[in-house]
């Protein structure tokens, strides 16, 4: 299945802009994605035509806004093949989602319990658990990574025990692009009675995931990684878990009855959705999913894989360039360094050529520490990038390296 790249690029207005007099070549998609007109228009459409506070209003427009918001939830439910729409909590993003769950387990776990975190995690899937463990004494164990940037599953097997209560792993590593064997991780965890939270922020833009088939306990993602706006994301939680853990934020919307003596909480999903939500964000999230599904994820996957292969081959031909993260299963991320040259210098000069990449630790210091480096240059592709852009990256990178060498 082929995608129509010319048509697609026309959908993204920002791709036409110039940076430092050059065509804007955006290769920082793992940080955030660009947005198609459809998504941008849905936001202004909302504020122009049917903005209102939702759920409580009696009037027509508030009903329209409420319907649109709840329809977005259903779109997300269907996209991820989730059984019940009330198992989809709309949050402000992956970080919020993970903190919500960590807070939920604060009083459930204690010093007799263990939690396992993968060594590939982004700080958002490390720090909330450290904060929780500091308070309730749960012991943290780590799945180490190998030289290819893959999780060492043998160690996982050895640290998994009946003391393990939770396991955290990202679906795709933002720093290296590694696609993790989460089905296996989930099955093994379940055998020992542990629940698994998968951070899907980097995965959702590149392929579809069936959460019922995965049988995962919690799954998170952020809309801005998949052509949606910032400030909105989702947390999937199996009903039994979402019923068990307490609310994260208190306030309006999440209550059933309020008196100064006692307050009771709302049912799912509203129990976890305090305050006025990012209504148009949710709507735009749904529109982004429609847009991507309309193109077709199979086509997106195939195209991005071809870009990854093309770019990897070209970059590997550059002397002294080392790529980190060489798992067979990868999404379109290439993290690299050139011997004797600091990533920051490369990124700064590539920017002068109009090319946007990311440099640094990518909020994954443990990954960087594992390789004994202070950071990398990270190039990350999306389905609106082209081979020509990769050629330009290759040429510019060579010029940059000769300036710095």
């Amino acid at each position: 299945m082929e995608i129509d790249i010319t048509k697609i690029r026309n959908d993204f207005p920002i791709l036409k802009r110039k940076v430092n007099g050059n065509n804007f070549i955006y290769l920082d998609n793992a940080a955030t994605s660009q947005k198609p007109n459809l998504v941008i228009d849905s936001i202004s459409d909302y504020y122009r035509n049917y903005n209102s506070n939702i759920h409580r209003g009696v009037h027509t427009v508030s009903q329209e806004a409420t319907d649109a918001y709840e329809n977005a939830r259903i779109k997300i439910q269907k996209h991820f093949n989730v059984k019940n729409s009330h198992e989809i909590i709309l949050t402000s993003g992956t970080t919020h989602s993970i903190n919500l769950v960590a807070n939920g387990f604060l009083d459930i776990l204690n010093e007799n319990d263990e939690i396992i975190i993968s060594g590939l995690e982004h700080h958002s899937n490390i720090v909330p658990w450290q904060m929780m463990a500091e308070k309730n004494g749960a012991k943290i164990k780590v799945i180490p990574i190998n030289e290819k940037g893959e999780l060492d599953m043998k160690v996982y097997d050895s640290i998994l025990s009946n003391k393990t209560k939770l396991v955290f792993v990202n679906h795709v590593s933002n720093a290296l692009g590694t696609l993790n064997p989460i089905k296996e991780i989930i099955e093994k965890a379940h055998k020992l009675g542990a629940a698994v939270l998968v951070d899907g922020a980097q995965a959702s833009a590149h392929f579809k995931t069936d959460l019922q088939n995965l049988n995962v306990d919690f799954y998170t993602t952020s809309a801005h990684k998949l052509c949606g706006p910032t400030g909105i994301g989702m947390l999937f939680g199996k009903e039994k878990w979402l019923k068990k853990i307490p609310p994260y934020q208190g306030g309006g919307e999440m209550i059933s009855d309020v008196t100064f003596e006692k307050t009771t909480y709302a049912d799912l999903p509203h129990k976890f959705e305090a305050g006025t939500p990012n209504v148009c964000g949710a709507i735009a999230f749904g529109v982004a999913l429609d847009y991507l599904n309309n193109i077709g994820f199979k086509g997106i996957e195939n195209y991005e894989n071809s870009l990854l292969k093309y770019a990897t081959d070209k970059l590997k031909s550059i002397p002294d360039l080392k790529i980190y993260g060489e798992s067979k299963e990868k999404t379109s991320v290439i993290s690299f360094n050139v011997k004797g040259i600091h990533a920051y210098d490369i990124g700064t000069l590539l920017d002068k050529f109009g090319i946007a990449v990311r440099t640094g630790q990518h909020c994954a210091q443990p990954v960087m520490d594992h390789f004994g480096i202070s950071g990398t240059v990270r190039v990350s592709f999306s389905f609106y990038n082209t081979k020509e852009e990769i050629d330009k990256l290759y040429d510019s990178l060579n010029r940059v390296l000769s300036m710095l060498g």
């Binding site: 040259i341 600091h342 000069l349 202070s374 950071g375």
Partner: protein, 138 residues
């Protein structure tokens, strides 16, 4: 040479560059050629925070003038540090404290000194001013 004169010289030199590439090539040369800091001062306590690459700054007072030295893992950062040192080093604490940074704007490097930039240069300038403040009380 007074700070203002040095700043004016630098602005004049940079005006000769025709494009960004010449400017950056110059800064890279600066960064490569200058040996800026004594290895005994390249320690963690002299690291400037907020930088993607390691950036060290050291200062000592000699005959009433502050002598700054600095180094960085990233060449461009080092080049910019070299420019800052050319202006601030071997000057009195009073002069360092009272100088402005308009010349950075004039040579087109303002982007590097935006507080949101992860290159520690804003912190470095702050630290240089702190040193000046501390030394002005001696």
């Amino acid at each position: 040479m007074r700070i203002k004169e040095i700043q004016d010289d630098i602005v004049e030199e940079f005006a000769l560059f025709e494009d960004w590439m010449q400017k950056y090539e110059y800064m890279i040369e600066l960064g490569k050629s200058i040996d800026l800091i004594d290895s005994k001062n390249k320690v963690d306590s002299n690291l400037i925070k907020g930088c993607q690459s390691k950036l060290w700054l050291f200062a000592e007072l000699k005959n009433g003038k502050i002598i700054f030295s600095a180094d960085s893992e990233a060449i461009i950062t080092k080049g910019i540090a070299a420019i800052l040192l050319r202006v601030f080093s071997n000057q009195t604490p009073f002069d360092v404290l009272n100088s402005d940074l308009k010349y950075i704007d004039e040579i087109g490097l303002k982007e590097h000194l935006s507080p949101t930039r992860a290159n520690g240069l804003v912190s470095m300038i702050k630290q240089m001013k702190y040193y000046a403040l501390a030394f002005s009380n001696k």
